[in-house]
């Protein structure tokens, strides 16, 4: 009763202040991120990017005059993700849920939306399984784990020339931590290394809670690879670099995969040893000059607003999050005649944006229904970044690169 009165009061006040805003015609969507708990740091950053996208979209006239509003849910883990998805769908009656960053949360929450016939719009999570469960109502705008592994292997092939070798002469070792993420990335990387004609000299898994990697590093030392492709979180990535130096394990290039190698904490923990290390992930900064005029304007406005709201520069996941929400608003909500699942799904599968449409350089075209990966964006953009003088620079692919590849092959530890 009290709530109803308050809502009514707020509505009346809103009408008085702004006659044009008609709250009953707003489109309310569910937005879920881990806003508290261990993943809150990046969860909040992604959420802030989503808010910027919403405000920019509404100020441009919204979805045919209707404003988009958020019903926000905080899901620190999969259990809460499942419960909050139920609340959003059943109590808040949202036509779709967007988010979520963590794969475990996205997997748990999309169980609910699939059952209830509501669209699940994932902007950041990468687990392959998200789009391989034959679900009708899941869409993922970003790349998946396999694509990360494949990109690392393709990039390694590109590096062969810098070693003065043919791809067939390149010796590559693949190591990864053994969670769902690491395993799917590692397997995809190893498959692609062999498919690219390079020699796979080692393929190892380890636990990410590991406190010592000397046996792994010594077995790699015996295999003598030119390049190591390593899928790691922060802790194990730092440990690998530190122990490689201690055990004098020299490689021509380290191609890391995942956020662990991209975080400022990685630089802080490894210091100058980070120099020259690659990281495969979404691009941390956009090469604006190569993007279409319209995307450039959006990027500039996003950057200003994000800085104003958070007094920080957006990280790679903020860019990805913004792109996901921006596409959702402009291509789905603005184009679908109503918010029924059929209309939303139809609008989503009809999107056909060329590469370079999003801030990350990505385009959007979903794998059609009936394909093994239905709902996965086939034009997601991955990049290879490199630590150069304490900064993470985008170096590959060329279309979005801001710097050229440096320090390949790496100097031996003894000469640094």
């Amino acid at each position: 009763m009290g709530m109803k009165f308050l809502t009514g009061f707020a509505l009346a006040a809103g009408l008085l202040l702004n006659g044009a805003a008609r709250a009953e015609e707003d489109i309310k969507i569910g937005v879920m991120f881990p806003l508290s708990g261990p993943m809150a740091l990046i969860g909040n950053e992604a959420y802030q990017a989503a808010e910027v996208a919403r405000d920019m979209f509404n100020e441009r006239g919204g979805a045919n005059g209707k404003n988009v509003t958020f019903a926000v849910a905080d899901a620190p883990g999969p259990t809460q993700g499942n419960a909050e998805a139920t609340r959003l769908v059943v109590r808040e009656n949202v036509p779709l849920i967007a988010g979520t960053y963590a794969s475990s949360i996205a997997l748990a929450a999309s169980e609910v939306t699939e059952r209830e016939g509501v669209l699940y719009w994932e902007t950041i999570a990468v687990a392959d399984k998200f789009t391989s469960r034959n679900y009708q109502n899941v869409v993922r705008l970003t790349f998946n784990a396999s694509m990360m592994g494949e990109t690392a292997a393709d990039f390694t092939k590109e590096l062969a020339a810098k070693f003065g070798k043919t791809p067939e002469e390149m010796k590559v070792a693949v190591i990864s931590e053994d969670s769902e993420f690491g395993q799917s990335v590692g397997e995809a990387a190893a498959r692609r290394v062999e498919a690219n004609g390079m020699q796979l000299v080692a393929d190892e898994r380890y636990s990410k809670t590991v406190t010592d990697l000397s046996s792994l590093i010594l077995s790699l030392k015996a295999a003598a690879p030119d390049v190591v492709i390593a899928t790691s979180y922060l802790n194990d990535g730092v440990l690998f670099v530190r122990q490689a130096r201690e055990l004098d394990f020299n490689i021509g290039a380290l191609v890391g995969i995942g956020t662990g190698y991209a975080l400022p904490d990685f630089l802080e923990a490894t210091g100058e040893n980070a120099e020259g290390i690659f990281d495969v992930d979404g691009p941390a900064s956009a090469n604006v000059s190569n993007l279409p005029q319209e995307t450039q304007a959006v990027y500039t406005e996003f950057l200003e607003r994000f800085r104003a709201a958070t007094s920080r520069d957006p990280g790679p996941l903020a860019l990805i999050s913004f792109g996901g929400f921006w596409t959702l608003f402009n291509e789905v909500l603005a184009k679908a005649p109503d918010t029924s699942i059929e209309s939303l799904r139809k609008a989503a599968y009809e999107i056909d944006l060329p590469m370079g449409s999003l801030l990350t350089g990505a385009g959007v075209k979903l794998e059609p229904l009936g394909e093994p990966n239905q709902g996965q964006n086939s034009r997601a953009q991955l990049s290879v970044m490199q630590w150069q003088d304490g900064k993470l620079e985008v170096v590959w692919p060329e279309a979005i690169a801001l710097e050229s590849i440096k320090s390949v092959p790496l100097e031996p530890w003894s000469e640094r």
Partner: protein
């Protein structure tokens, strides 16, 4: 290739030294007071955070702060013993386990509230150095931890054998009631033991900070391995912690190299099961020591 094999053994022993260092406080508390301290790993975590905080605040090298942290944790141990541990002395095992697991959770969440879930690292000028002999690498940070670990174990052994307090501790370990009849202040010695054990955890924590990033649940990773070490070496045996630690370090490194990285934990758990089957008291343990003197 020979160099790699020698390096493997060296790396295994250095890792084992860390395990022994982390485990020695645990085995001591168990040996004297029969307390199974499941919060031991979290006390190491407290030592790590304290070192991290002091290093960030004073800008000193973490190695210079080792004595400060050890003494601080000794005090913290006395406090814990007074507030909590003495109340569960002689209580059923379940009560001891719940109380110490609960203590661990409190410490973890306190760390989460104060420092957040981020990985914290400090850089030490000293830790970055590597000693090299004939192609063998000795990372200085690991080497220091190894040497300190050996020294602490030697000192504790001498202390228990020769000093009055040490003899009192051994007397309590053998027969708690008889010891109290010989006018040994059992409660005081219990407190002192817990303080010393916690100081060992703090010492280990301070020496681990240059090696590993610290985060609230790192203790949970350490406590499992230290229980394996302690049970393998023999509950309550200081020498057992040394031998157990070195053995686990070697097994882990060698199996990681020869069998594969994902198999290393399996390898030492298999050895662990074998020891429990054929020598249930552990390598240096006394049969039935878990109920002795209680």
């Amino acid at each position: 290739m020979t160099a790699i094999y020698i390096q493997l053994v060296v790396s295994g022993l250095l890792l084992g030294g860390i395990y022994a260092l982390v485990s020695v406080g645990l085995t001591m508390i168990f040996g004297v007071s029969r307390i199974k301290n499941f919060a031991h790993g979290d006390l190491v975590m407290v030592g790590m955070y304290l070192t991290y905080a002091l290093t960030t605040w004073t800008q000193l090298d973490p190695y210079l702060l080792v004595p400060v942290v050890t003494v601080a944790l000794f005090g913290f141990g006395l406090l814990l013993s007074f507030a909590l541990i003495r109340r569960i002395q002689g209580a059923p095992q379940v009560a001891q386990i719940f109380a110490t697991v609960g203590l661990g959770l409190v410490l973890q969440n306190a760390a989460l509230m104060i420092f957040g879930a981020d990985f914290r690292t400090t850089n030490s000028e000293i830790a970055g150095n590597v000693l090299r002999f004939w192609g063998i690498s000795l990372p200085l940070s690991l080497f220091i931890a190894f040497v300190v670990s050996m020294a602490v174990i030697a000192c504790l052994t001498v202390f228990l054998r020769t000093s009055m307090v040490g003899k009192a501790m051994r007397a309590i370990a053998q027969d708690r009631r008889a010891a109290s009849l010989m006018s040994i202040d059992v409660k005081f010695i219990d407190m002192l033991t817990f303080g010393l054990g916690t100081a060992c955890a703090g010492l280990a924590g301070a020496l681990l900070v240059p090696l590993y990033p610290v985060y609230p649940t790192i203790g949970a990773n350490l406590v499992l391995i230290s229980f394996v070490v302690v049970i393998l070496g023999g509950l309550g045996s200081i020498e057992g912690a040394l031998i157990g630690g070195l053995a686990i370090g070697l097994i882990e490194t060698l199996s990681g190299f020869f069998i594969g990285s994902e198999m290393r934990q399996m390898a030492y758990f298999l050895v662990f099961i074998a020891v429990l089957l054929f020598r249930p008291a552990g390598l240096f343990g006394q049969r039935g020591s878990e109920t002795l003197g209680s």
